[in-house]
């Protein structure tokens, strides 16, 4: 109290600044992750279950060697991390909308786009850390790592994650305090996207209509691009398609998210 009385502060007259505000929001969002990194490990349980319990079935039924099957399966698991982890991140915002702290950030002199973009960029951190852990676990079992492919693959995953995360935040901003609606929409979308991406099982044996639908599934293109990148085929045309799909999703997600954030109250 005594220290306070010695300061007479001029009134802060800060102006909104997209770059600085985005940075401030990003740093704030990263704090809980840095304080408690084990939360990242816990959210890895699901992809690890698929790696440990689904990959052996795949190996058994395909009759291919372990290394080859992992080479096909692991890139899909990395995309799965984004699909399940980042796809659900909107629930964090929804929780903050319901408990009150989102309202506080809306009264702060922050540019509205930065409130969304900062959060979306934060998603990159868990994606990269979790993807590296999965890759390192698969490595001793015969999964080969092409370093340039890994770097480009992670960057692609990050862009895809920013897009999907933004859409998840948009869903939270739109559904407001109706959690059931958020999860209803999220779950309804996520499994068709998962299955129609050829992430778990190849779509080669699928009926024609499923293959047709899968061609407009951006997740499918990202999975195929990741497979090519981890195989070291950096110039493969699927890599280009993967980038187009991820960038399109990011642009769409950020556009929709910023729009929803501007309307948030």
């Amino acid at each position: 109290m005594t220290a306070e009385s010695t300061h007479t502060r001029p009134d802060t007259a800060v102006r909104a600044n997209v770059a600085r505000d985005t940075w401030s929001v990003l740093i704030r969002e990263l704090k809980p992750v840095v304080r408690d990194p084990f939360t990242l490990i816990f959210s890895l349980v699901q992809p690890l279950v698929f790696l440990g319990l689904f990959a052996p079935l795949l190996i058994g039924s395909s009759g291919q060697p372990v290394g080859e099957t992992l080479q096909w399966f692991v890139p899909g698991v990395l995309v799965m991390i984004v699909l399940f982890g980042t796809g659900a991140t909107g629930s964090n915002l929804q929780y903050e909308m319901m408990t009150g702290s989102h309202e506080r950030t809306l009264v702060a002199p922050l540019s509205r786009p930065s409130l969304l973009v900062g959060r979306a960029l934060k998603e990159i951190a868990p994606i990269v850390v979790q993807a590296l852990i999965i890759v390192l676990i698969a490595w001793p079992f015969g999964f080969t790592i092409n370093v340039p492919g890994l770097v480009i693959g992670l960057a692609l995953l990050a862009v895809f994650g920013v897009g999907l995360g933004s859409l998840s935040y948009t869903l939270a901003l739109k559904t407001k305090d109706r959690e059931w609606l958020f999860w209803g929409v999220q779950q309804t979308l996520i499994f068709p996207l998962l299955i129609l991406s050829g992430m778990l099982l190849p779509l080669d044996a699928a009926p024609a209509w499923m293959r047709a639908v899968s061609t407009v599934n951006p997740v499918n293109w990202v999975v195929q691009a990741e497979r090519a990148l981890f195989a070291g085929e950096l110039g493969d045309i699927t890599v280009l398609w993967g980038w187009i799909a991820a960038l399109a999703l990011a642009v769409l997600g950020l556009w929709a998210g910023v729009r929803a954030m501007r309307k948030s109250s």
Binding site: M1, A3, E4, S5, H7, T8, R9, D11, T12, A13, V14, R15, A16, R20, D21, S24, I27, R28, K31, P32, R35, N92, Y95, E96, M98, T99, G100, S101, E103, R104, T105, L106, V107, A108, P109, L110, D177, S265
Partner: protein, 358 residues
């Protein structure tokens, strides 16, 4: 600049569409607040207090009308308004996943403060609002009183000249509430901060606010100091008791000669009336009755409360008014408080006192 009112609201109106029906939550709100004032919106839940605050803090745009807050138009220059106000909402300002001190530092960054300035300021607030024991705990782990002190600290981080507090003491036990108020009053004494709050606790408005704006059904129906509101709109309740009903009957005539307010029989052998300046009327009534040979056995004078003012203005008590209406946009949050009139919340407080500072 300094003579300009810190808030000038001009015809602020907010309409919501709920299930295809248009509901007017706030109607034609026009008022000014001078720098340094401590003003309270008093009214039942659903009166439009929060909606008014949310318009003034740029959270929602008005349907019509406008306001200048700290010198800037809320519609044309919302960013300039935001930079110069503090806001403590009804709910919890800190994110449950964050640590208390981290939130203070993030708040500093949000208001353009340097890292060093944020650290100094955060430590000042941790000290003055007694946050030290839980500053490195996550918000989720804090008790209600601790969360509320953190909310206030977050609202004050950038030392705003004007702070809005929406129901700052709802859900706090009496001790935490008194504590919180001490902090708010200290702050004003030291920095001349203008404080604008909403409350449905009439004792709170009565005790702390220098100016009370009574709100009901979206309109401000009275605006004055608590003392003047009570004197002009309510008056003291005087009761005189006698040895026999006959004495009481005779006393009515004597006392009626001293006041233009109606004197009534009340009970077996007493009379009652409500009058302004009852503290002066009571002794003169006793003397007049003595002179008339009527012995006064008992005399009580009860000063009015703001609830009496509300009753005089609306024909309902604050508690009755709080049940049923819900025109505010935050219906989910306000609903929870729907039944919590002064009495009900006093009981709720008593029951949480023991568990509050776990």
């Amino acid at each position: 600049m300094t003579n300009e009112p810190i808030i000038q609201a001009q015809g602020l109106t907010k309409r919501f569409t709920v299930k295809k029906k248009t509901v007017e939550a706030v109607t034609d709100l026009t008022f000014e607040v001078a720098r340094g004032e401590l003003v309270a919106f008093l009214g039942p839940n659903g009166a439009g207090k929060s909606t008014s605050l949310r318009m003034l803090t740029t959270l929602i745009p008005p349907s019509s009308g406008t306001a200048r807050v700290v010198g800037y138009d809320i519609l044309r220059r919302p960013g300039d308004v935001r930079a110069r106000i503090g806001y403590v909402g009804q709910l919890t300002s800190g994110s449950f996943a964050q640590r208390a001190r981290d939130e203070l530092l993030s708040q500093g960054a949000f208001y353009g403060m340097s890292k060093a300035a944020s650290r100094i300021r955060a430590d000042e607030l941790i000290d003055s609002l007694d946050l030290a024991s839980f500053a490195s705990r996550s918000v989720q782990q804090l008790s209600g009183g601790q969360k509320r002190r953190l909310d206030v600290a977050l609202g004050l981080m950038h030392a705003p000249p004007l702070i809005f507090l929406d129901e700052p003491s709802t859900g706090l036990d009496p001790q935490s509430r008194a504590n919180l108020w001490q902090h708010i009053l200290d702050l004003r004494a030291q920095h001349g901060t203008t404080v604008f709050l909403t409350t449905h606790y009439l004792e709170e408005a009565d005790r702390y606010a220098e100016r009370v704006m009574v709100m009901d059904k979206g309109r401000v129906i009275a605006d004055d100091t608590a003392t003047r509101l009570k004197a002009n709109l309510a008056g003291d309740l005087l009761t005189l008791g006698f040895a026999s009903p006959i004495d009481a009957d005779q006393a009515i005539g004597v006392v009626q000669g001293l006041t233009d307010r109606e004197v009534r029989r009340d009970g077996v052998a007493s009379i009652t009336l409500t009058a302004p300046e009852g503290d002066a009327l009571l002794p003169s009534a006793v003397r007049a009755l003595d002179a008339a040979g009527i012995t006064v056995a008992r005399a009580t004078g009860v000063p009015p409360t703001l609830d009496d003012v509300f009753l005089a203005l609306t024909g309902r008590t604050l508690r009755e008014a709080g049940e049923g209406d819900e025109t505010d946009d935050k219906t989910t949050t306000e609903n929870q408080e729907q039944d919590a009139g002064p009495q009900a919340s006093a009981q709720a407080e008593a029951s949480v006192t023991t568990g509050a500072e776990r």
